[in-house]
């Protein structure tokens, strides 16, 4: 018997290490020789810690939300040959609903193999694509195969991968670099982290194949400082690959030599932009520069450099092994293959899903995503992070392909989906995304540095109840100018969340400005809490819990909130027993 536990950083944060200890302890106590294995994240983060019990005959029972106590119960039940139904969420024959409709290419090994074992990776066909490329394909043929696959960059811009490879390859020069962009920073996106933590060899194999195709001399992974586990596992994988001849001199007996190193970022979102990333790698402030010249012409230390995203690279070995046509057979005419989406926000099942391109948004959110938390009403989904836009309910049947998403005003971006329900204020949300880009603006160009600041000031005054007629038009005008005048993609897209929420939720902006009201009841300056005298039984709970002591009243008599002192923290609403529901917000 093998017992496998999901130990990516999401599993660990959910208490996975304690569960692992509890399992080991139970094995010892019961005198069981069962093997305990670790794996990455299967994407069902809301069920974590996740434990798979794999039987001799290959059948699997999967248990979710395992705790130290239930770990023991599960072991005891499985010992007697029975499954513990109440905690079981899936079997090998009946996969969980979350996995229904998924097609896992980039995530093919995540949640299945031990990411720290190269053996596990090669057992599932790992490094066979590299072998095929090195022994049976010319670099030009590799590029041709990627061209057939239709693979586009998954890092945001969606540029055809083969084209970038070809451009770098055709540049003159003996020294060329291949960089893996692992600086994932879009709020709401975490697929690159999960890939690096769950299947680092897939990214390495993709890098080596890309390196071969462009005839690069070395590769660098630019990793986020906030992802220590990803960096650790990747470092270990590099060591293993070197020891087995997949990296270094004359890889797998071929004429191709290539090695990979890791460099850590230091916390700056803009360093995900490729020219800023290069500046950071060179030890400078991470500021973007004007393109052209493109990195393929003048990149790291002015040498031809190809930069690809983690997910893009993880797809590469599969394409080489299975042929570009198999990849192109999935998806739509302009968007081939699959895409990993990160589900976050007010969604029932937060996590990662990989689906064929072209699946309607609704199917993703209500299928693997399970719908809206607490069965509230869907309001909008923010796709593409701070560079993307809000898509309203009326457009929920939009297929996720590059063009259809673009037509809504959002972008595919890195695939982060932040789901909002009726309790989210769209003005407040747009303000938060803008706050992010304004904070992360490197300050090099004026439209982005000052323009986003001015836009943010307007958004702040809307939320503070000080909006003025004409503010919406001003936001639209400023937004347009920032998009046109900024130096890099950060500024070019920073106004998007504001512009798309104005486009789809204009009434909400108008209510903030003209009626000084927040329909979602989120903007503190625009709401008041009241205790309804006829409903209040005088239980004193709210008065006791109020952090600023602004609620007064005798026991068993209706209480009153002093509006001058109230900080609108909402505690009274939260603690008022539901049988009375005496606190209201307006």
């Amino acid at each position: 018997m093998i017992v496998r536990i999901g130990l990516s950083s999401c599993g660990i944060a959910a208490g996975g290490l304690l569960v692992k200890e509890a399992l080991a302890f139970a094995f010892e106590e019961e005198g069981l020789g069962w093997e305990l294995q670790q794996t990455g994240c299967i994407g069902m983060c809301h069920y974590e810690p996740l434990v798979d019990v794999i039987h001799q005959d290959g059948s699997i029972n999967t248990y979710g939300n395992v705790t130290v106590d239930t770990a023991r119960e599960i072991v005891v039940a499985e010992m007697s040959g029975a499954a513990l139904e109440k905690y079981r969420i899936a079997t090998d024959r009946e996969p969980n609903d979350c996995l229904a409709g998924q097609v896992r290419i980039a995530l093919r090994n995540c949640g299945i193999i031990d990411p720290e074992s190269i053996r596990d990776y090669t057992d599932r066909g790992g490094y066979q694509a590299l072998q095929k490329a090195l022994t049976r394909m010319t670099p030009q043929q590799v590029i041709e195969e990627i061209k057939i696959s239709g693979l586009k960059g998954r890092g945001g811009a969606g540029f055809p991968t083969w084209f970038k490879w070809n451009a770098t390859r055709q540049e003159p020069g003996d020294i060329k670099y291949l960089i893996c962009n692992a600086d994932e920073g879009d709020p709401g996106a975490f697929m690159d982290r999960s890939l690096l933590e769950g299947d680092p060899h897939a990214v390495l194999e993709g890098m080596i194949i890309a390196g071969y195709a462009i005839e690069a001399t070395s590769g660098i992974v630019y990793g986020r400082a906030e992802y220590p586990l990803a960096i650790k596992r990747l470092g270990k994988a590099i060591g293993q690959a070197r020891a087995q001849g997949m990296l270094g001199n004359k890889i797998m007996g071929s004429k191709f030599s290539f090695d990979i190193s890791i460099k850590q970022g230091a916390g700056a979102f803009v360093c995900g932009e490729e020219t800023a990333l290069i500046a950071s790698l060179e030890g400078e402030r991470g500021m973007p520069r004007l393109k052209p010249p493109f990195p393929s012409q003048r990149g790291y230390w002015d040498k031809p450099t190809n930069i690809n995203n983690v997910e893009t690279l993880a797809n590469v070995p599969w394409i080489i092994a299975n042929g570009g046509e198999s990849f192109a057979a999935m998806g739509t005419a302009d968007s081939k293959g699959t895409k990993v989406f990160a589900l976050a926000g007010r969604i029932k099942r937060g996590g990662l899903v990989e689906v064929p391109m072209g699946m309607p948004l609704r199917e993703i959110i209500y299928g693997p995503g399970g719908g809206i938390k607490d069965d509230k009403r869907f309001k909008a989904v923010q796709l593409g992070g701070p560079s993307g836009g809000c898509i309203p309910e009326a457009l929920l049947d939009t297929p996720v392909d590059y063009q259809s998403i673009k037509n809504t005003g959002a972008i595919m971006g890195s695939g982060g989906m932040v789901v909002m329900d009726e309790t989210t204020c769209m003005v407040d949300l747009a303000r938060y995304f803008l706050n992010f880009t304004q904070d992360e603006s490197c300050g090099k160009c004026v439209p982005c540095r000052i323009g986003t600041k001015r836009m943010l000031e307007i958004m702040e005054r809307l939320c503070a109840g000080e909006g003025q007629p004409g503010d919406i038009e001003l936001l639209e005008m400023l937004g347009q100018q920032i998009m046109e005048g900024s130096l890099c993609g950060l500024g070019n897209s920073a106004p998007n969340p504001v512009l798309t929420t104005i486009r789809y939720f204009r009434e909400e902006y108008e209510t903030h400005i003209h009626d000084k009201k927040c329909p979602a009841k989120q903007c503190k300056a625009l709401i008041t809490y009241h205790i309804e005298a006829d409903k209040c039984k005088g239980c004193t709970l709210c008065a006791k819990k109020c952090p600023v002591n602004c609620i007064s009243g005798e026991a068993k008599k209706p209480h009153v909130i002093d509006q001058n002192l109230c900080t609108k923290c909402g505690t009274c609403l939260e603690v008022c027993p539901s049988k009375w529901s005496a606190v209201s917000v307006s």
Binding site: G188, G283, G286, A342, A344, V418, F433
Partner: protein, 148 residues
């Protein structure tokens, strides 16, 4: 303990190694003490202004002293709609400091951060880069008690 000069000098031969050198100094000292900047400038052949510019560009690097435990609270939109505001307030109240400050005993620093890629379990904080997810204000004391 290696001196700051020794740490920085060990990156001398790495082109563009200044950020890695700063990371290494921070692993030792928790922040970049004042003498770091002139030494880094000398070792990497930069002006002090350039070396300082790099040190202050990145949010992970700090030229001000910080506590033993650095609590970073995510304020990005997904965490925001999950109630990060109240969580931030709860940490401020529990520690008696505001965001950006360090407790008098030098144990805790509170910082805001942008998304740390754990959005499956909002709201999120990290303590010395270890993520804690799905937190609610009632758990603040328990989390702080883990920092011993």
């Amino acid at each position: 303990m290696a001196t700051i000069r020794e740490i920085i000098s060990s990156f001398r031969d790495k082109p563009g190694g200044i950020i890695e050198a700063y990371h290494a100094v921070q692993r030792e000292c928790n922040f970049l003490p004042e003498e770091t900047i002139p030494i880094a400038a000398e070792v990497f052949g930069l002006s002090e202004a350039q070396a300082y510019g790099v040190a202050t560009f990145y949010s992970y690097l700090s030229v001000a002293p910080r506590g033993k435990y650095i609590i970073r609270m995510c304020e990005s939109a997904p965490c925001h709609i999950a109630g990060a505001d109240t969580l931030i307030k709860a940490f401020e109240d529990a520690l008696g400091i505001k965001v950006g400050q360090t407790t008098a005993d030098g144990k805790f620093s509170l910082e805001l951060t942008e998304c740390v890629g754990q959005c499956q379990g909002t709201p999120v904080i990290t303590i010395n880069s270890v993520p804690y997810v799905d937190l609610d204000p009632a758990q603040v004391e328990t989390v702080l008690a883990l920092c011993q």
